[in-house]
C-alpha cells in the first residue's frame, strides 16, 4: 500500500514537473522566422528597414536601416553641445589627447558615460583643407566612439531611456512586440552599412537596465 502511494506521488510529481516545464518552454519559445515576418508586417511600407534578424538563446540581433540605427540620440550632427542641450547639461566633461593627436571627450553622468572623438576636417578630407581657403571655414566633427548608459536621465532617440519596459521599448524601436519576446534579455541592433553603430540593450526581467553603443570598428579615430 505504502509502495503504491510512493509510486503515485512519483507519477504526480513527474506530471507536475513536465507540465511546468512545458509551460516554460511555451513561454520562452521565440520563432525567428515568425518574428521576422511579424516585424516586417508591422513595419508595413518600411519593412525593408529590417534587413536581417537572428535569435540566439536570449539574444535578439538585427541589422536595420531605421533612422535611430544611425542617430541613436536622435541628433544628426552629434556634438558635445547638442547632447548637453537635450540632457539639460547634466554631463561633466573631461578631454584627453591620444598619441595620434586625436582629442577624446568623455561626458560623464553618474554611472554613465559617452566618449566622443573630435576629428578635424583635415583628417576627414585627407589633408586637402590645408589649402588656405579651407583652413578656417570648417568646424571639427564629433563621432560617438563608445557609450555606456545606466541612468534614466539620459535621453535617446524615440524617448528610449533606462527603466522603460520591454513592451514599450520594442513598440518604440521595431514597432512590434508580442509575449514571446519576453524571453529576450539582450537586444542588439547594427546599422545596415556596418560603419556607424552597434547598439546593445540589456534587460533585467521586463526593464531596460543598460545600453551600450559603440562603433563597429572598435576604435573610431584612435
Amino acid at each position: 500500500m505504502r509502495k503504491n502511494y510512493i509510486l503515485l506521488l512519483f507519477v504526480l510529481l513527474q506530471q507536475l514537473y513536465s507540465c511546468s516545464n512545458k509551460k516554460n518552454r511555451e513561454e520562452i519559445y521565440l520563432d525567428e522566422n515568425d518574428l521576422r515576418t511579424n516585424i516586417r508586417q508591422s513595419l508595413g511600407e518600411d519593412s525593408a528597414d529590417l534587413h536581417f534578424l537572428k535569435v540566439k538563446s536570449d539574444t535578439l540581433e538585427i541589422t536595420s536601416n531605421f533612422e535611430w540605427s544611425f542617430f541613436p540620440f536622435g541628433i544628426k550632427d552629434i556634438s558635445i553641445n547638442k547632447i548637453q542641450d537635450i540632457n539639460h547639461f547634466i554631463f561633466h566633461i573631461s578631454s584627453t589627447k591620444n598619441q595620434r593627436g586625436t582629442v577624446i571627450h568623455r561626458m560623464t553622468f553618474n554611472e554613465s558615460y559617452l566618449d566622443l572623438v573630435e576629428v578635424s576636417d583635415s583628417i576627414l578630407n585627407g589633408g586637402f583643407d590645408k589649402l588656405a581657403e579651407h583652413n578656417y571655414s570648417k568646424p571639427n566633427k564629433f563621432y560617438l566612439r563608445y557609450s555606456l548608459i545606466k541612468d534614466s536621465q539620459i535621453k535617446l532617440a524615440l524617448d528610449v531611456k533606462i527603466g522603460i519596459n520591454k513592451d514599450d521599448f520594442f513598440r518604440k524601436t521595431i514597432k512590434y512586440y508580442d509575449k514571446t519576446m519576453d524571453s529576450i534579455r539582450v537586444f542588439i541592433n547594427n546599422d545596415v552599412l556596418g560603419t556607424e553603430y552597434v547598439q546593445v540593450f540589456v534587460f533585467d526581467g521586463n526593464i531596460l537596465r543598460e545600453i551600450l553603443i559603440y562603433n563597429p570598428s572598435g576604435n573610431g579615430q584612435n
Binding site: 534587413h51 536581417f52 544611425f70 542617430f71 576629428v119 563621432y143 546599422d191 545596415v192 560603419t195
Partner: protein, 274 residues
C-alpha cells in the same frame, strides 16, 4: 622564380577580357616584373546578359588570379547603388593597390583596395563620360571594398550608400568572404591588375555543342576528320573549364581531365598527320 605572372588579354574587338599566365616573358633582365604583368589580378565581369541598371544585388563576379596560379570567384557588384545619382566606372584595365577604404581616412577606415588608371590617376573614366554626381567625365575615389552589414546593398538612413561607384565584394557570414578575398593580395605594395569587363560571361557551354559538331561522312578527307576531332576537343576543353569554374571539378580533377584531353588531341594529330 616563384609564383605565376598574369598578363591581360584582349578579344578581337580589343576589349580586355581576362588574364593569362605568361611567366616566360614576364621579367626584365633585372628580375623586375615587366609593365603589364601582375603577380595578382582581378577580373570583374557581369554574370549574365541581364545587366541591372543599378548595383542592387551581386550581378557580377570578381575572379581573382592568385599568386599561386589558381583562380577564385567572389560575388561582386560593379555598379553604384543608384546609377542616376553616381558615376559608373567604364570597362577597361586598371590597377589596384592595397590600401584602405575610405582611402583618405574618414572615421572608420579598414583595409581595402584602391583603384587607379594605368598611369596612376585616381580619376577613372565614367561609363557614359558624364558622371551624374559631378557632371565630369570621370569617377574619383573608386575602391574595392566590402558591402554593408550582412551584405546590405543600398542607401543607409544617414544618406550614405554602400557604393557610389566603388566595386563591392560580398562580405559573407561574419565577413568571411571579404576577408578571404582580401587575403589574396599583399599589403607590401605592388600593383594588382584589374579588368572591368561589362559584357556578360560567355553563355554556358552545354553538351549540345558536342552534338552540333557534324561528323564527316565516311570517306571524307583526313583534314575533315582532323577538324571534326579538333572541334570536339575544344568543346571538351570548354566543358572542363566551365565545370571547374562552377566548382564541379576540383583543381586536381580539372588538370587530370585537361591532361587527358591534351593527350587525345595529340593522338588526333598523330592519327591524321602521319
Amino acid at each position: 622564380m616563384e609564383g605565376l605572372e598574369w598578363k591581360s588579354i584582349k578579344d578581337a574587338n580589343c576589349n580586355y577580357t581576362g588574364f593569362e599566365w605568361d611567366s616566360k616573358n614576364a621579367y626584365n633582365a633585372d628580375k623586375s616584373l615587366k609593365e603589364g604583368y601582375y603577380k595578382t589580378a582581378i577580373l570583374i565581369q557581369e554574370k549574365s546578359a541581364n545587366v541591372p541598371k543599378d548595383g542592387a544585388y551581386f550581378h557580377a563576379v570578381a575572379t581573382v588570379y592568385k599568386e599561386d596560379g589558381t583562380t577564385e570567384d567572389y560575388n561582386a557588384t560593379s555598379l553604384p547603388v543608384d546609377a542616376s545619382k553616381y558615376g559608373t566606372v567604364a570597362a577597361g584595365i586598371y590597377i589596384a593597390k592595397y590600401g584602405q577604404h575610405p582611402m583618405n581616412g574618414g572615421t572608420n577606415p579598414y583595409p581595402a583596395l584602391n583603384v587607379y588608371t594605368l598611369n596612376g590617376s585616381r580619376q577613372l573614366p565614367d561609363v557614359g563620360g558624364d558622371n551624374p554626381a559631378t557632371g565630369v567625365s570621370y569617377v574619383e575615389g573608386v575602391n574595392i571594398h566590402k558591402t554593408g552589414k550582412d551584405d546590405f546593398i543600398g542607401i543607409g538612413s544617414n544618406g550614405n550608400a554602400t557604393s557610389q561607384g566603388c566595386i563591392n565584394i560580398e562580405r559573407g557570414f561574419e565577413d568571411a568572404n571579404w576577408n578571404d578575398f582580401l587575403s589574396n593580395f599583399s599589403n607590401q605594395g605592388g600593383d594588382i591588375g584589374v579588368i572591368i569587363n561589362r559584357t556578360p560571361l560567355k553563355p554556358k557551354v552545354s553538351t549540345e555543342i558536342l552534338t552540333s559538331i557534324q561528323k564527316p561522312q565516311l570517306g571524307s578527307s583526313n583534314i575533315s576528320w582532323e577538324l571534326y576531332y579538333r572541334k570536339r576537343a575544344i568543346a571538351y576543353h570548354q566543358l572542363a573549364i566551365l565545370s571547374y569554374k562552377n566548382k564541379e571539378l576540383s583543381v586536381g580533377k580539372f588538370y587530370s581531365r585537361m591532361g587527358k584531353l591534351e593527350n587525345n588531341l595529340a593522338n588526333t594529330y598523330q592519327q591524321f598527320r602521319k
